[in-house]
């Protein structure tokens, strides 16, 4: 995380040089710092930082997309008279490597409307998720796997 410290330093310097320390100047400084450090990559050798930050951004985008999509689906089911939901409790096998990752994954599942983490089995390898649209259990499993689990595991690797 040494390069992260340098990047933060560049952000603070940018903010100080532009005369006012606000979120905008700090943010601009961070982006410029990341770009500059990215160009100088060969000086530091291969560092996981350059992979990790884009993956973290990708995780946030992926999560927001899941949030908007599922919110829309639930909202649609609330306002239309005919109910389309087929709720069910689904066992989702997970590949998380430690408790922090399991906590983050289950929280992200709970935060997206239409899915709710109910329980974790004794071995910690299966989450039980209450899904609002469980017509196809495999589709729910694949959806959680693709939009939440894989980006999370990549961002934290």
């Amino acid at each position: 995380m040494n390069i992260f410290a340098i990047n933060l330093l560049v952000a603070v310097m940018w903010a100080m040089l532009s005369g006012e320390i606000t979120l905008t100047t700090l943010g601009t400084g961070f982006v410029i710092g990341f770009a500059a450090l990215w160009l100088l990559q060969s000086l530091f050798g291969r560092d996981a930082y350059f992979l990790r930050l884009p993956r973290l951004v990708w995780l946030v985008i992926s999560f927001l997309w899941a949030l908007i999509r599922s919110s829309w689906r639930v909202a649609h089911d609330v306002v239309t008279p005919r109910a389309r939901n087929n709720p069910g409790v689904i066992a989702v096998p997970i590949r998380t490597r430690n408790e922090t990752e399991t906590l983050l994954l289950s929280s992200m599942i709970s935060l997206t409307p239409g899915s709710l983490t109910l329980d974790l089995d004794e071995t910690g390898e299966t989450l039980f998720v209450h899904a609002m649209f469980a017509e196809d259990a495999d589709a729910v499993r694949a959806d959680i796997h693709e939009t939440l689990e894989t980006p999370l595991l990549e961002a934290l690797s």
Partner: protein, 210 residues
């Protein structure tokens, strides 16, 4: 001339309507878990309402928990009306930010209202939780985002992101605890439920009721 405070005023009424609907669920129950869901949602609606008050009154004191009762604070010690950066004060930019803020505010309030209707309408406690998480994450998040985009003050923006972060950290834990307790206590599942793989202890194919 800015019309955002007026739009925020309308949105406050929408939030109030949502709170009334949730109140019905709080009274009806039928179980403790249902009441917990309703209380949790009311709490989130209060946060959304506080965000809207910031936009209506242009005083960010509503974002401070310790200053929540703004009426008790002497007038000269209240927060000053918000300033905007010079480039934002041009009429065209004001218009753009007003439109962006209005869209965010109305979308957020709309989601809160839909969530409240869902809390009242859905059959079992888990379905109601699906509806209420939407108010917490998207509805309140959008309203807070409106505050962040229309107010050009680092202190306010930092506070708004703090509020969103706390919502994102606490909401799933509350939802998990309520949901797990309700499930283990044997809450009745909606008749539309197609499968329960936890009961069966192994993944099986869910087949739609139709």
């Amino acid at each position: 001339m800015t019309f955002l405070p007026m739009v925020a005023e309308w949105a406050s009424w929408i939030i109030l309507a949502a709170a009334l609907i949730v109140l019905v669920r709080l009274v009806l129950g039928p179980g403790t878990a249902d009441r917990a869901v309703a209380l949790d949602m009311l709490n989130v609606l209060v946060i959304a309402f506080a965000g809207l008050r910031v936009l209506v009154t242009q005083q960010y004191a509503y974002l401070d928990v310790h200053r929540h009762r703004a009426d008790l604070v002497p007038r000269d010690r209240r927060a000053q009306p918000l300033h905007r950066a010079a480039w934002r004060r041009s009429p065209a930019m004001m218009m753009v930010w007003d439109i962006v803020g209005s869209v965010l505010v109305l979308a957020g309030a709309g989601f809160c209202l839909i969530a409240a209707i869902g809390v009242l309408r859905f059959e079992d406690v888990f379905m109601r939780m699906h509806a209420s998480t939407k108010a917490g994450t998207l509805g309140t998040g959008l309203i807070m985002l409106a505050v962040a985009t229309t107010v050009d003050s680092t202190g306010v923006i930092a506070r708004v992101f703090g509020i969103i972060a706390f919502l994102l950290f606490t909401a799933p834990i509350a939802a998990h605890m309520i949901g797990r307790a309700a499930y283990l206590a044997g809450a009745t599942l909606s008749p539309r439920t197609v499968c329960d793989e936890r009961k069966q202890r192994k993944p099986t194919l869910c087949i739609a009721a139709e």
